[in-house]
């Protein structure tokens, strides 16, 4: 499939879905990850379970396109509808193997800021805040970050940590008292980045079709290291695209049709 046959968002959904393993318990969240979960269920991860912080657990995609987790089709045919406490109990009790979060700013060690651009003391932009993102980052066994790859978003150091990645690297999470495993991948509009298992620094792992290494480096706010062999992100298959378009028929999330 050629790059002109799909959008960057569709590629990111596919990349997100591929991070989901069969039998994963996925803290789904909203937007692209929600599509990624539905796609994974229809492809390689039929046994994955999705949980939603409003109090929903389901093991098959909703019967209609979702805009939010609170939409009525997400409740219909769920396995369990309950309270946020029950869902978060699963998360804190280490029953959740994978979470997804987005971010406005990320840094070299995968820390995310979705609250105060400019920091809490000198607020430039007030963003919506953590939502469940910080909880997922702290408590899930591993999590995937999905965001735009721009120089102003990829910083050496975020000015405020909403959702903790690896802090300043190495065993920071352990020292600070966190139980969860930290970020395992960053899916961006340019490529996929992963983390060095020792230093916990973010490392370029693959580049999306049509993007050059230079473009990635130029749009990263620090001296980004690369994996020994940088891969080319595998484009969506025809079936994957078909499924994404089924779950986002109007292209609200993946074809920029309505914003």
């Amino acid at each position: 499939m050629r790059a002109s046959d799909y959008t960057m968002e569709e590629l990111m959904v596919v990349a997100g879905a591929r991070e989901i393993r069969d039998n994963d318990v996925v803290f789904v969240g909203m937007r692209l990850p929600l599509l990624a979960f539905q796609l994974a269920k229809d492809t390689h991860a039929p046994h994955a379970i999705g949980i939603f912080e409003n109090g929903i657990l389901r093991d098959r995609p909703a019967g209609e396109a979702l805009y939010t987790m609170g939409d009525t089709p997400n409740t219909e045919s769920a396995i369990w509808t309950t309270s946020m406490m029950d869902i978060m109990a699963l998360l804190q009790n280490e029953r959740v193997s994978l979470g997804f979060i987005g971010g406005a700013e990320v840094d070299r060690f995968g820390n995310l800021n979705t609250t105060y651009i400019g920091g809490r003391e000198r607020i430039k932009i007030r963003l919506p805040g953590s939502g469940g993102g910080s909880d997922i980052a702290s408590l899930s066994k591993r999590f995937v970050i999905i965001m735009k790859h721009e120089k102003r978003r990829f910083l050496e150091r975020v000015s405020y940590i909403t959702s903790p990645g690896f802090g300043d690297g190495r065993d920071w999470r352990e020292k600070i008292g966190l139980r969860g495993g930290g970020p395992c991948a960053v899916i961006t509009t340019k490529g996929i980045l992963r983390f060095n298992s020792e230093t916990k620094e973010m490392i370029l792992h693959s580049i999306h079709p049509g993007i050059t290494l230079e473009q990635v480096l130029e749009n990263t706010g620090w001296n980004l290291k690369c994996a020994p062999k940088i891969e080319r992100t595998k484009p969506p298959t025809r079936f994957e695209l078909k499924m994404i378009r089924k779950y986002d028929p109007l292209g609200f999330w993946t074809r920029n049709t309505m914003k």
Binding site: E53, G55, S83, I123, R126
Partner: protein, 298 residues
């Protein structure tokens, strides 16, 4: 509705709204609070969706205690940004929580304990000085813990499907932090699609979210959650969220929106007239899916 808001929501109160997250948001109640020009309120909720933004813009809010303030499908809330960044129409304070920790704070309030420990928050900007959270070493495991102090709101607005006249309330779907909020609050207002007989409640007591003895007023207000969805009654009106996002981009646009949808109507009935029958029809359920009965006999 008018009377309940007048009597039970007082200036300066802390009020939980939107406890079920993106569904069952008490928009009708929020709009009535705006119309009654309440002052100095503190709003509490996990994900407020755009209701909190609407209320912030009206100037009746002093503080927001929440995990996320914005418009869930569109992103940022412009009134919230204007208030925090430029003090328009009024400077507001934001108490930053996460979804889980707001849930824990209300749970501690409901449980009657002063705090509850968690493994979330550690290493984040939220646990810094001046914030309500503390760190401690666990006396059992010696691990680091964050402590979340109890929240005891003055008022909880519970938006639900049905209740009897005494306030015994049935709810179905994901309830978010609704129960915790109601059990923690000093006053509880229940807003429902319909009032049913007490027998209907008693025939399925596991469906009860909240017993009536904790409820101060039961308000029948059909479509009271629009544009958010109410399981079993109507679907989400996504379009309204998109329109509001555009309308509220600048202050002038927001005021126009406010005049049209809130100040310019006297009640939910007038609001629904404005919304129009055709729109309402398009939001009705297309596919019914009824639960199967269970036997409570003996």
């Amino acid at each position: 509705m008018k009377e309940a808001v007048f009597r039970f929501v007082e200036d300066g109160d802390s009020v939980v709204m939107g406890a079920a997250l993106e569904a069952a948001i008490p928009f009708a109640t929020g709009h009535e609070i705006i119309r009654q020009r309440k002052k100095g309120l503190t709003l509490i909720g996990p994900i407020s969706d755009m209701l909190f933004d609407q209320m912030i813009g009206s100037g009746c809010i002093k503080k927001v205690i929440a995990a996320w303030v914005g418009n869930v499908i569109m992103g940022v809330g412009y009134n919230m940004r204007r208030a925090v960044e430029a003090g328009i129409p009024k400077k507001i304070e934001i108490g930053d929580y996460t979804n889980f920790t707001i849930s824990l704070a209300l749970h501690a309030g409901a449980l009657g304990i002063p705090f509850i420990p968690t493994k979330s928050l550690l290493g984040t900007g939220m646990i810094s000085e001046g914030q309500p959270f503390k760190e401690m070493e666990c006396p059992y495991t010696k691990e680091k813990l964050a402590l979340v102090p109890a929240l005891k709101p003055d008022v909880a607005i519970v938006q639900a499907q049905r209740a009897d006249e005494e306030g015994n309330t049935h709810f179905w779907g994901g309830s978010g932090v609704t129960k915790e909020a109601a059990l923690a609050a000093k006053k509880v207002l229940v807003v429902v699609e319909e009032i049913v007989s007490k027998k209907t409640i008693q025939r399925d007591p596991n469906r009860t979210l909240l017993p009536g003895f904790l409820v101060h007023a039961v308000i029948p207000e059909p479509w009271g959650a629009h544009p958010s969805p109410m399981q079993g009654y109507y679907n989400r009106d996504h379009e309204e969220y998109m329109t509001y996002h555009q309308d509220s981009r600048d202050r002038k646009g927001y005021l126009k929106w406010l005049e049209k949808w809130v100040s310019g109507v006297k009640s939910r009935e007038e609001y629904l007239n404005l919304l129009g029958e055709e729109k309402m029809k398009s939001l009705l359920l297309k596919r019914h899916r009824r639960s199967l009965p269970v036997d409570y006999g003996y």
